[in-house]
Point group: none
Chain length 126, copies 2
Amino acid sequence: MRKDTSTNALNEKFINDTCGMGRALNIVGGRWKPAILYKLYRTTMRYGELKKSIDGISERMLVAQLRELEEDKVIERIVYPEVPPRVEYRLTDLGRTMGPMLEAMSNWGDLHREKTGDQTKGSSND
Amino acid sequence: MRKDTSTNALNEKFINDTCGMGRALNIVGGRWKPAILYKLYRTTMRYGELKKSIDGISERMLVAQLRELEEDKVIERIVYPEVPPRVEYRLTDLGRTMGPMLEAMSNWGDLHREKTGDQTKGSSND
DNA sequence: CAGCATCCGGTTTGATACTG
DNA sequence: CAGTATCAAACCGGATGCTG
């Protein structure tokens, strides 16, 4: 057990920030958001690249999720007024502040996989 | 019950497999999961207590989410073989390792709220 | 008390076809 | 290339009633 201030402070944070947590979840927690963010966190990508790299996603969903992330100010949409249309997506500065959170999530996900001996390994039909 | 054969489920599985992040999201990312987890993060609780403390949740959902969390090994279900049935729920050790992640999410949600100057702040305390 | 079964409506998603 | 439009299916969650 930790000091009251420690554990309590942490708990208190959860209490006061259940919404903050919900907000975070709302932004990164869509069905395709993780995949999109995962890609964009590494590099800027074009619409078509994203579509190809995220296997199974439909245009409808890709656009929808992209728009949401854009609205949440975590990604940026850059349109190049060229003859063959070109649109690039990349994280905003705010988007980059997700780093620690995403890492924490990723780490815990890995830990959880270890501890539970994961079953959902990529052997799913696809 | 959800059909594993549906395209939907397949895609979801794929996402969860993409990285630990998806896995983490899948576990804490339900509609009521945050609320349940934050309650149980503080203390062990009985089914009825949870139901009462989480305002608005239906039995159907509470049980469903509880079962999922249990299956994910982050919470524990303890049944007391007493005449008036008594069932308690509490975090497992693995569940407690979520602390840093939950905090990171909470923090970022907070930061995001500041940066975007949003309004969603209806923290309903106990 | 704890929890499951069933029905039902609203929302999300996927597939497909079409446009600038 | 980068989307938009539309329809139907799947899913989610709520309300209600029933059981041990």
